[in-house]
């Protein structure tokens, strides 16, 4: 029987973590995602024995993640933009040492302390490697409360499959809004999830394991980089996810992710009501980015509009995908404002349809 509930995005994510058999959560409060830590503090330990610890900062929590993940456990943290900025050094270490973990960014408007309203201005930071060095996370972008929940176990699966950090890149509206969500059945917490590379205590049949990102010889460091880049290529081949609605007959395509994609569906419908054939492409994985898919889709349309709650970040990747074949225009709102369907349609008409 389906288990349906009406939940906030943040709570659905927290509940999904418990059900996914998560071993530990380390985090620090920040609006608009504090419900994750609060919900887990209330529910997790008594139900599954999951460790929940409020750290002294996001710097500490990401390093607790590094430690726990190095033991081969399912560990996760969540934060919002300023807190995720603090984690960047740690994420770079995690990516380099190849420890699997799940990170969540419920984005808010910035830069700086910014606002607590939804935003998508951390796209660059998330998909281009906000920390130092050539690394990539796998970045999943939910667009509903359902996906806030579903992407937790998907995220853990991908993290362990590739020994790579996975980020769920959400926003303040998805975190705060309530929707119906179908919850997955409980998975056992497999405390014996011991990986052969993990720091779990050396056994006599092997040398000691170490989790490290230090390679003093440049040749060795380059080897590590080549290995990582090959892995990212493999991830791009296997794990790119994208959703496409009404693209088959479309003259225009809107590309948008997360919450904004839903607004764009409404904009597309408004357009179709007026006789404009508009489709919507929603990248579900922002990293790897559905470059080939967008490249192909662009061939049969007159133009593409990228819509974001930012000054235009993902649009760079859309332009790279389209590679000049068709016009790519951008429409965005910043600082915590969600664009309306009417605004988006007007922008599409003005930039792509009207006159040009």
């Amino acid at each position: 029987m389906k288990e349906l509930k009406l939940m906030k995005g943040n709570e659905a994510l927290a509940e999904a973590a418990i059900r996914a058999g998560c071993d530990a959560y380390f985090g620090y409060p920040i609006t608009p995602q504090s419900e994750v830590l609060e919900y887990l503090s209330r529910e997790a330990e008594k139900r599954t024995g999951m460790v929940v610890l409020q750290a002294e900062s996001e710097v500490a929590s990401i390093n607790m993640i590094y430690g726990g993940a190095g033991c081969g456990k399912k560990v996760m943290t969540s934060s919002s933009s300023p807190g995720v900025s603090l984690m960047q050094e740690g994420i770079s270490y995690i990516a380099s040492a190849e420890v699997p973990c799940l990170l969540v960014n419920v984005q808010r408007g910035g830069p700086g302390l910014g606002t607590i309203q939804p935003s998508q201005a951390d796209y660059y930071q998330s998909v281009k490697g906000g920390g130092h060095g050539d690394y990539k996370m796998i970045v999943l972008a939910p667009s509903s409360v359902q996906e806030m929940a579903d992407f937790v176990s998907l995220g853990f699966d991908l993290a362990f499959k590739y020994r790579n950090p996975v980020m769920i890149l959400s926003d303040g509206a998805l975190g705060q809004m309530m929707e119906k969500v179908e919850l997955q059945p409980h998975q056992e917490r497999s405390t014996e999830l011991l990986q052969e590379w993990a720091t779990v205590g050396r056994t006599p049949d092997r040398d000691s394991n170490f989790i490290t990102s230090l390679h003093m010889q440049p040749e060795q460091m380059e080897e590590v980089n080549i290995h990582l880049q090959n892995k990212y290529k493999l991830i791009a081949e296997n794990e790119t996810r994208v959703e496409c609605v009404n693209c088959d007959d479309a003259d225009y395509i809107i590309v948008a992710y997360g919450l904004v994609a839903r607004v764009c569906h409404n904009a597309a419908q408004l357009g179709r009501d007026k006789g404009l054939k508009i489709g919507v492409i929603r990248p579900i994985t922002l990293s790897p980015f559905p470059t080939d898919y967008i490249s192909k889709a662009s061939e049969q349309v007159k133009g593409i509009l990228d819509v974001e709650m930012s000054a235009g970040q993902m649009v760079d990747d859309v332009r790279l995908a389209v590679n000049g074949k068709k016009p790519v225009e951008f429409y965005g709102r910043m600082g915590g404002i969600v664009p309306t369907p009417e605004e988006i349609l007007a922008a599409l008409e003005e930039k792509l349809v009207g006159g040009k």
């Binding site: 071993d23 530990a24 380390f26 460790v51 610890l53 750290a55 002294e56 900062s57 710097v59 500490a60 929590s61 390093n63 607790m64 993640i65 590094y66 430690g67 726990g68 993940a69 190095g70 033991c71 456990k73 560990v75 050094e89 740690g90 270490y93 040492a97 993990a198 720091t199 779990v200 205590g201 050396r202 056994t203 006599p204 040398d207 000691s208 394991n209 170490f210 989790i211 490290t212 990102s213 230090l214």
Partner: protein, 267 residues
């Protein structure tokens, strides 16, 4: 002369047999060359940790956390599972490990820049939560790895590459005595300050480190073992001079001895 000695040895029966062994490299100390400078305390403390792990027979149950600092390669010398943390974050990493593996023995090994400058918050909060682990703090009053810059623990008027005229406490602050901060915290179970500059001190330091591991069986809180150490290279001294500097300058500021001991052990 030389030939005579050879003869004498050859004449004797071979005494190099296991039954006669009274001292050997601890198994946990891997048989590889260390990168430490001659006379540096890091190597001695590594050996003590290895001896303790052997004696307690916990090689398979110990997880170490190496810092960023001269001892960044501790995991190449100690044959236990290890995590190499970002600069300053070793005790947070150790917290993450201990929380998900509570039945393991966990220790962090950190220098003064790591533990008392960039990682002060993690140190204090790890202690304040009373994480059931051991923090080994190598206080050499200087940044060794990066080439001799001032540390939070550099003595007043002591020269470093970034206090070339001596540490001016008016503008650079006074040396931070970490044990003074953490001894206020009820969740810290054991605090001691030791050194490894003499045979006697080495023995005491080893006992302290051993307690830091053994106390984890009790789950009573954090153990904090500070080792006041030398850094001949960056102090620009010979090892002998550096040992004298320890006695003359460092120990008066950082006196050796127990600072907080479990109730039942108070004499």
């Amino acid at each position: 002369m030389e030939e005579k000695v050879m003869e004498a040895v050859n004449a004797e029966e071979n005494i190099c047999v296991p039954e006669n062994l009274i001292y050997q490299r601890p198994e946990t100390l891997l048989d590889v060359p260390m990168h430490y400078c001659p006379g540096c305390a890091h190597g001695t403390v590594h050996k003590l940790i290895a001896e303790v792990i052997d004696e307690l027979d916990i090689q398979g149950k110990t997880i170490g956390v190496a810092p960023v600092g001269c001892s960044v390669f501790a995991y190449q010398y100690l044959g236990v599972d290890f995590s190499e943390a970002a600069h300053g974050r070793a005790s947070a990493v150790a917290t993450g490990i201990k929380r998900v593996m509570p039945d393991k023995y966990v220790f962090s090994y950190q220098g003064d820049g790591d533990l008392a400058a960039i990682g002060t918050a993690e140190t204090i909060h790890t202690c304040n939560r009373g994480e059931n682990l051991l923090i080994i703090f190598i206080n050499n009053g200087i940044y060794g790895m990066t080439g001799g810059q001032m540390a939070p623990t550099t003595l007043p008027n002591m020269k470093s590459t970034t206090s070339p005229y001596g540490r001016d406490v008016q503008t650079m602050g006074n040396p931070l005595v970490m044990t003074d901060l953490i001894k206020q915290l009820p969740s810290v179970y054991y605090i001691t300050r030791q050194a490894v500059n003499t045979a006697g001190n080495v023995r005491k330091a080893k006992k302290a480190i051993k307690k830091g591991f053994q106390y984890q069986d009790l789950n009573k809180g954090t153990s904090f073992v500070e080792i006041v150490a030398n850094c001949p290279s960056n102090w620009k001294m010979t090892p002998l001079q550096s040992n004298k500097f320890l006695e003359d300058q460092m120990f008066p500021y950082y006196p050796l001895g127990d600072i907080k001991v479990p109730e039942k052990e108070v004499k």
